[in-house]
């Protein structure tokens, strides 16, 4: 699996040039590279890659809640096939991810608006758009529950002003996933904005100047100059959005769980909101079936890897590297 061959545009000279005597030899160049990736390699290997390997092993075992693993081969994966909630969770996860992807262009658009020179109140807007990202999750959950409340929530109150009788957004199985997805967009918007703003900074002013001289309008400038030049960042945000959305858990958990009830969660919409990560959480941490949980996690991982590989394969067609 090596879809990640570093992209090079044609105009780029080969690295580690060895035509001149004083240049470091190719191997020497390697030495520098290894030196630069050493800390990250060590850190990720110990604290991430090793746990991943362990968990992969557990997915082929029957595991107790407090350790103790017996090799059972593919039994967990076979049990997955017989679990009716798995299929629905996959569908929920895909739908959620699709909605999150659709929101990316809007973040880019707002970033471009905020990046206009001479825009009044630019710093204030930036701070405001970033606020949801810094707000504590527990406050977020409370607020949205209150807004989505079916009988007197803010959303339905606003709808009633125009004569629409709104549903119970958070507990109606037909709407709950969309309500959760709306929170997801709201929470990641500022995050994506930060990345896009940083990308826009890298565009030299001459490009815009040239576009202006050519008489290109704002829309054309945006599509012809802004989008291609920040495409590495768009690609990054897209890949990350897919990865994070496919792993969606926190927001669903905040909206679906009922604190204080001895019976645990009690939201009738849960089957239509449950993501694959949610299923993993239930299996591993609620039902104490670590092995089965690990299998669920790796089905998800396989899924994410597949989608990401496809994205990396497709990037040649649209991502423009300097």
């Amino acid at each position: 699996m090596t879809p990640f061959a570093a992209q090079r545009t044609a105009g780029q000279p080969a690295r580690a040039g060895s035509r001149r005597g004083r240049r470091p030899s190719r191997n020497h160049g390697w030495g520098w590279a290894y030196l630069m990736i050493a800390p990250t390699t060590i850190g990720l290997s110990v604290f991430y890659l090793w746990p991943i390997a362990q968990t992969l092993y557990y997915s082929f075992t029957s595991s107790g809640p407090f350790g103790g693993h017996t090799w059972t081969g593919l039994a967990n994966y076979q049990a997955l096939g017989g679990d009716p909630s798995v299929g629905q969770s996959v569908l929920n996860t895909l739908l959620y991810t699709g909605i999150q992807l659709a929101a990316i262009p809007f973040a880019l658009l707002v970033a471009a608006l905020l990046n206009q020179p001479g825009l009044r109140g630019r710093s204030v807007y930036r701070v405001i758009f970033f606020l949801p990202v810094v707000t504590m999750p527990v406050a977020v959950a409370m607020l949205w529950r209150w807004m989505y409340q079916g009988d007197y929530g803010l959303v339905n109150y606003l709808l009633s002003l125009v004569g629409i009788h709104g549903p119970h957004w958070a507990s109606d199985p037909d709407y709950a996933l969309y309500s959760v997805a709306a929170i997801g967009i709201w929470m990641s918007f500022g995050y994506n904005l930060v990345i896009f703003l940083a990308g826009l900074q890298g565009i030299p002013a001459e490009y815009y100047e040239a576009a202006r001289v050519d008489g290109a309008g704002p829309v054309r400038t945006f599509l012809r100059i802004t989008v291609p030049l920040v495409s590495p960042n768009i690609f990054f945000v897209t890949v990350l959005t897919v990865i994070n959305s496919l792993q969606m858990f926190d927001i669903a958990y905040m909206m679906m769980s009922t604190p204080g009830s001895a019976a645990g969660t009690a939201n009738p919409a849960l089957p239509r909101v449950r993501s694959i990560s949610y299923l993993f959480f239930e299996k591993a941490f609620v039902e104490h079936d670590t092995g089965f949980g690990a299998a669920v996690a790796f089905v998800l991982v396989a899924f994410v890897v597949l989608v990401t590989v496809i994205q990396f394969r497709l990037q040649k067609r649209w991502v423009h590297y300097a």
Partner: protein, 282 residues
Amino acid sequence: MPEVQSSSRAPRHRARSVAVHAVLIAGSVVMLGPFLWELVTALKPFSETTQLPPTLLPHHWQLSNFTTVFRSLPFGRMFLNTVLMTVGRTVCQVAFSAMAGYAFARMRFRGSAVLFALFLSVLMVPGLVFLIPQYLIIEQLGWLNTLQGLIVPMMCSAFGTFMMRQFFMSLPTDIEEAARLDGANPWQVFWRVVLPLARPGLLALTILTVLSSWNDLMYPLIVNTDPQKMTLSAGLASLQGEHFTDYSVLMAGSLMATAPMIVIFVLLQRHFIQSIAFSGGK
């Protein structure tokens, strides 16, 4: 969209600027809501937080919720722990990610594609998977209830490495080539030439890292038990009772915990301003 101001097209420009502000203000209202809600809830007495339908503004303003937070938690100590943890994680993550990201973006070395794919695979595994394995490693090292236990596992970041790689790849290469031809070694090129150019990317990564470690809840909670070593997010979580949570106090605590993040963002964001002046002149 960026457009050089010129007075000759003022009316059209004004109409457009009104439209732009309309979009931004509409977005701002949605984004600002929760924050105001947090503030309002923090100023209500508890009985009013459970009132139906909810009151928009407090009938009785109550500032004592903020003092209650100080009474129930060693707030100052937790604040310090959170700052130390965040600084430690951020400094390491940004430095290591920039180094690795640059290597993946600009250097050719054996195994780079495989390594990069491995690093990316870390992002594809749900975070909860790492919780107990990482705890076990820290426990083996004897670092439960220590600062290094909070920092070390998060010193490196797959996310940061990927992000920095994307930033370096979008930077023009000619300056680096020039420096290399002048006989600078790769480290000097990276340190003197590339990093200054990558400031927006470094800044964005700094902001995102500070934020994620500031709000990190589950991991600190699992490796720490001593209130004196606890972080703010974990401390706030403990304010939730089994059958009963005083939400006004919780919101007051959340506000106090997030205020520094907002201040930092306000201070850092001025660096987002276009560093290259427009020749069209402002």
